[in-house]
């Protein structure tokens, strides 16, 4: 079976590429750390072509891309759709990259163009599109990470979303603030531990507790001999707890929260959401990205397998 298209999820720090059949079946795949940060403007095409060649892709195989490659600082800007955004429109609004010999399209991100709470998303919307392809009918999605995204979907529309800087806050506070002495580099990872769960509960009554509790990470080490491992678990619990409390207040749902995550991050958020007595449906983000890209490719180039 010949390849129908190539699909790339091109984020800030990662690059993933698949050769797909028309059915979405994977023929071959590659992954590297050549994300946006590693690509100066004129390197995108070279990186893509090298990986395509390594996978044995035809010279005219079309490529669909989602993620930060479409940012202003990326390869070729793909302007945002605005909320409420019909997710199948991502394909129609894709931008064709001005290069010779290959049809490369970059999917737009989505923006929330409010004066008060402006926000942007690039890449995660394609994972949500993938979830809809899998038969998810909407609901509330949580995509945790450096910049966690909470996304609300109704009737195929991305109606609202919020970015939480949870992972980055953990990083800058544990490395660059006074909390580095109490929650800096540690040997063990106690996320999901009793200390983590206690911190979660402390901020669960609403987010009111985060600002007035951050410094307790240091005070507990001074007063109670809290270890660095516990300090990290406490800081993580306070930040993730504040994120979840704020998100659940904003995005109410009767069904489960659809958690798009993998590895230890998935386990940490599953524990945190369960502690908040929220049902969780765990979905695989890598698979969803691929399926979202495939769905977009089918819209752009039709079903060339039939």
């Amino acid at each position: 079976m010949p390849a129908f298209c190539a699909a790339a999820d091109w984020g800030t720090t990662n690059f993933r590429l698949w050769l797909l059949e028309g059915t979405g079946q994977v023929l071959a795949e590659r992954e590297s750390d050549e994300g946006l940060r590693a690509c100066i403007p004129d390197r995108f095409e070279k990186v893509l072509e090298r990986h395509l060649a390594d996978l044995g892709a035809a010279r005219d195989l079309p490529v669909v891309i989602a993620g930060m490659a479409g940012a202003r600082s990326g390869w070729c800007e793909a302007p945002y759709l605005e909320t409420p955004a019909v997710l199948t429109e991502l394909a129609r609004q894709a931008v064709r990259v001005g290069i010779q010999g290959r049809d490369v399209r970059i999917l737009p991100g989505v923006c929330q163009d409010h004066a008060e709470k402006p926000d942007v998303i690039r890449g995660e919307e394609t994972q949500v599109l993938g979830a809809l392809q899998q038969g998810q009918d909407g609901g509330v999605f949580c995509l945790p990470g450096t910049h966690s995204k909470w996304v609300e979907v109704k009737d195929g529309r991305l109606t609202a979303f919020t970015t939480f800087m949870t992972g980055e806050l953990f990083d800058v506070l544990s490395r660059h603030s006074i909390l580095s002495e109490s929650a800096g580099a540690a040997e063990a990872d106690l996320q999901g531990s009793p200390t983590f769960l206690t911190a979660l509960r402390e901020v669960a009554e609403g987010e009111a507790g985060l600002m007035e509790r951050l410094f307790s990470v240091r005070a507990a080490s001074l007063l109670h001999g809290q270890s660095t491992e516990e300090g990290r678990a406490r800081l993580s619990g306070l930040l993730i707890g504040a994120e979840i409390a704020a998100a659940l207040k904003r995005y109410r749902t009767d069904g489960p929260v659809k958690l798009i995550a993998a590895g230890s991050l998935a386990e940490t958020y599953r524990a945190a959401l369960s502690a908040a007595e929220v049902e969780v449906l765990l979905l695989n983000g890598k698979t969803l990205a691929r399926e979202g890209l495939h769905a977009a490719a089918r819209r752009i180039w039709g079903d060339r397998t039939t």
Copy 2:
């Protein structure tokens, strides 16, 4: 009139020294950046003696010190008083430094030894003691800064307090996070500007808005062409607004909030508190520290002027 004592406010980044008469009148004073960070353990005595010599202090003049010099990582640890702490007890619990030829006492800080919200304070409690000496009868004190402190005083007792990492959050986020592109170094200072006040209002309904709004500092620059100056004002407004909302929720007062601050920080917090429709009484922290130290010295060494 000979000096009654010397008094030092010895913090993390600053050192202030006064020669005082028994009445509290200032005979001479010095200020330097030889705070805790600049002093390796065996330098404290040398720094102090050099400044005392420069001021012409007698070789046996007693010295009272408040602040981080009494921390575990400082000159000589002065264990914390616990809340509720009678502020006049600071003098009685002062620790005498084990050096030859001079009576040097370091005042303790205060800790809040709760399992859930442990907290520590060192230096600010002496400013609050100074305010009580000035005739303030208690109430709620706000001492903004890298680590803002809100302190509640009832009947001469420091009953509760909270540290907010507001200034440090601004610093690490504007320098080390993705927000550095939108709120990094700028030429003008727009604190107190309409952007600042709008951000304050956005988080004023409770602190719920901070976590979900931080990323808007970046999104507003991407979507609305917000300048770096406005980005800084927005970030500052969100952080200070969240601090004030949480603090006012915890520390209710019928009277004014007693703001111990100076310069642009005083103006920024005065604007923020006024926006929250809170009456403000501005007090001078440097004067209060000196008066708190003088009051403690009188308790330790009696009234040697009579």
